[in-house]
Amino acid sequence: MPLGRTLGLLVPVLVVASAAGAYALTWRTSYAPVTRPDPASFEPELVAKGAQLAAVGNCIACHTVPGGDAFAGGLPVPTPFGTIYSSNITPDEGTGIGTWSLAAFRRSLQEGVDREGHHLYPAFPYDQFTLLSDDDVEALYAYLMTRPAVEYQPPANEVAFPLNIRAAVAGWKLLFLDDGRFVPDPDQSDQWNRGAYLAEGLGHCGGCHTPRNALGARERDEAWNGGMAEGWTAYPINGNSPAPIPWTSDALAFYLRNGWHQDHGVSRGPMAEVTGNLGRLSDEDVEAIAFYTASRMGTADLADAGPAVAGPIEAPGEQQDADSQAQPGNASGDRGEAIYAAACASCHESGRPQPYGGLDFHRSTAVNAANPQNIVIVTFWGLPPADGMASAVMPGFEGVLSDDDMIDLLNYLRREFTNEPDWQNLGELVSTTRSGAHTVSVRPADMIERAPRNLGAKEEP
């Protein structure tokens, strides 16, 4: 028998055997169903605290289908191992978590086990939520149990054998789950520790901003060193941040609260939902997350430049007014430069402040980043307008630019506005992103389409 076939048979057998072993070792009990708690039984202060915590956790983003009922689940989450559908976390007794006791709810967040004792897939970031304090779990419970109950059964997960056996997840946990609450660092300030607690735990920044290994677990040695989210690049947010102007603690706090910053531009893609939610936090908590993040970037001691203003910027071509018909000259004959001058410069050199003006590309993290994925996405599909409110808007150029046009334009931006070397994988990224072979999500910059009928934490308890 050829070696390959022997291994082909042996590997699944071993996997199943070890999964069965893990199952035996990590058997979890079932919590008896409870009668759904009366929403009036929760203290309003506790519910309000839970609303803010749910915003930190960005729970609504995964547990809501865009345009659907908040927290009713059903959003497909693509993983390398198959598609996971988020669960219904409204207090519906049949399809949601209405029959979950506080203890069952706590175990799901801290240990990744559902009420009946099934291991949950780590698409649900319990490997980070495990840091949550029991008090905060109780507040989240109060918040979710007072949401409208929605009767909705999300589709079944589409995960291939052997991972479709829930017990296989137990083996994953043995390797990658450090079950335990947050332990403050006594050498750091209270603000730093508060930020670390929120960002490393419930905020689960590392869920997107940390690269993952072949088994989908975060690489321990590369915390916050950049990852992927819904087809977008999640930039490194440690000392390797590609932002051309270093993030100060104040700049981060402004950005996380407002979804944009004069020196860095507008949050978009999955991060738009995050900033949309964090805008609802107290100043204290946003500043704590910002301070901790800046310390990870090594910029916590950096003085802020003061209120964000558009200073004079060095840019190619002529300066022009926002709605001038004049086009910058194209002396060099470079094709990418010509496209930039005619299609981009009228906004991106207008000098109009963020978030409504185009960002000067000297300040663009997307153009400075090692991976061009985000600038490709934004150039193709722009920033769609939000419904019923002012938002940053950029038209998409999918119908305007051929693949070659895109490559010429982005190479020009890279050479003109950064000191970084050319991107190596640009052509392939452009064609797979356009064709959809590389799937990305594109939504308005303010997350409003997530659930227009119910904006989650924005809704007062």
Binding site: A322, D323, S324, Q325, Q327, N330, R335, A338, I339, A341, A342, A343, S346, C347, S350, P384, P385, V393, M394, P395, F397, E398, G399, V400, L401, S402, D405
Partner: protein
């Protein structure tokens, strides 16, 4: 240097510089004044035309990216004497007030219904988000697009299907 492209079915060679926006080529060199200059920033949609079947903002499309491609403007949808279905529907619903946004609205709608003849009300509204109307005739514009959709579907149902023997 000339650039060759197809405009409303006719092959044309134009002399404008390659970095000239398509809108200026259409209006200034070809004398097609249907597409309008609104903001020049891709924010208002008045300059919307179709290129290879897709709605684009012609004020932000340099000529060099249009070489060899097919452009459709409101002049290509029909004439005063024989308006096309989209134009006839806008007339029937009296959708124009000042009219400045209307050619862009018609081309955006045409592209939307070409790609998806059964587009829902929500899909049509989403597609039109980039086209602004300051007079506020949105309700009539939407009514016109629904009328055009109905008439296009009826025309498609009563005409021979593609590949069917017309004899």
């Amino acid at each position: 240097m000339t650039t060759r492209l197809t405009v409303n079915g006719a092959v044309v060679d134009v002399d404008s510089d390659p970095d000239t926006p398509l809108l200026y080529v259409l209006r200034d060199e070809l004398g097609l004044h249907g597409a309008k200059y609104g903001c020049g920033l891709g924010q208002c949609g008045a300059c919307t035309v179709m290129v290879d079947g897709t709605a684009v903002l012609s004020c932000l499309m340099p000529l060099l990216t249009v070489a060899g491609r097919e452009v459709l403007t409101v002049e290509g949808l029909g004439s005063t004497d024989q308006p096309g279905p989209m134009q006839a529907a806008f007339i029937a619903e009296q959708a124009a007030q000042c009219g400045y946004c209307i050619p862009g609205m018609m081309l955006r709608a045409q592209a939307t219904l070409t790609a998806n003849p059964r587009a829902t009300e929500d899909e049509i509204r989403t597609a039109l988000e980039f086209n602004l109307c300051r007079c506020g005739t949105h309700i009539r514009i939407l009514a016109a697009i629904r009328r055009a959709q109905r008439e296009m579907q009826q025309a498609a149902a009563s005409s021979p299907r593609q590949g069917e023997d017309v004899l």
